[in-house]
Symmetry: C2
């Protein structure tokens, strides 16, 4: 839905718009975001912004679909042939936590969309996401059946990994308020805690 960037300046402006839109949509959701805010953040006028994208909705869709692939890559990479299934799952947790740390706006963009009932991503969730999770749930179930990890509900295990890692991005302001100003970066401690949690849950 966005014009394919051809010149260098188009490339640069398209990226600036998408970056600004990520800022605004991730904080305020689709309806709470305004083109004015996005244009100002991107350093462009509103009509110029609408020269690159035909509508507010088009920007939102461009962001969501560009993100979906990257967001699910760590789960796709979960290796059914892994020598150590517990370590493989701990690695997945670590990668997801790193994504929360390094891409908090992307996490909040998704969170906003899901909170609102997934009006735009609904179909993608029911097909692509549900299919991938079903696939990996079978892998996890196999590991449990072979006694290589402790028995556990595979889909709820995946939910718990998402919930725990994304919490540090989505609820960042609450986490920092609770930890107080003495502890500026919660991620190192979170990494240790989550490693402990999933080790105790999964190790035989």
């Amino acid at each position: 839905m966005s014009p394919r960037p051809r010149t260098r300046i188009q490339q640069k402006n398209s990226e600036a718009i998408l970056d600004a839109a990520l800022d605004v949509f991730s904080r305020h959701g689709f309806r709470g975001a305004t083109l004015d805010q996005i244009a100002t953040t991107a350093g462009l006028s509103k009509p110029n912004l609408l020269y690159y994208f035909p509508s507010k909705k088009a920007i939102h869709v461009a962001l969501l679909s560009a993100l979906m692939d990257n967001w699910l890559q760590p789960l796709r990479d979960l290796d059914p042939e892994a020598a150590d299934p517990v370590a493989e799952l701990l690695g997945y947790v670590r990668r997801k936590l790193e994504m929360s740390r390094d891409m908090p706006r992307e996490s909040r963009l998704f969170a906003n969309e899901i909170l609102q009932g997934a009006p735009r991503m609904g179909p993608a969730l029911e097909s692509e996401l549900a299919g991938l999770v079903a696939d990996k749930a079978r892998v996890i179930e196999g590991w449990a059946a072979e006694g290589r990890i402790a028995p556990v509900h595979p889909k709820h295990l995946i939910f718990s990994i998402w919930a725990l890692t994304q919490h540090y991005a989505d609820f960042d302001s609450q986490v920092r308020a609770v930890l107080g100003p003495g502890e500026p970066d919660p991620y190192p401690e979170a990494a240790v805690y989550l490693d402990t949690l999933f080790t105790r849950l999964l190790a035989r």
Copy 2:
């Protein structure tokens, strides 16, 4: 900020407005919500709605502050003198999951506010919430020091309980999309899963 309800009809309308506002704010966040939507949902005209509350902001503040108390009650109730600390913490998890099941709109209202950086609740988080968590974290630390629960970072333990239980309310549409139409109610399975998870994490 809301007029104290005196007559029966004022009582009824105030409640209808707050209930409708909870619907709309919890889905769309503060800026994404409109008075039109709230008024229509409440079955009132827009000017009539503004007879009861002076502004959109006043409705939002009324909801948030009325909710804060109820929301934290289970954590306040965590008993330092409990005979069985693991069971006490599992009971807290169960109560929080029941709140997600029975009050999903309230959970999403908070989630939206935190996602947006807690513009209205920020001070309450830094004082009331941070104080309560610090208090209960000392209790949990004491239990661990006495060897009555496994050693664990107390504040991240609390974060993980919030993240895991609220996930089922806040990300309901994703959970249902992933589980598919065959499993209409995820809560019974979630209760079993979370009980297992925290037992393995905390039991000695």
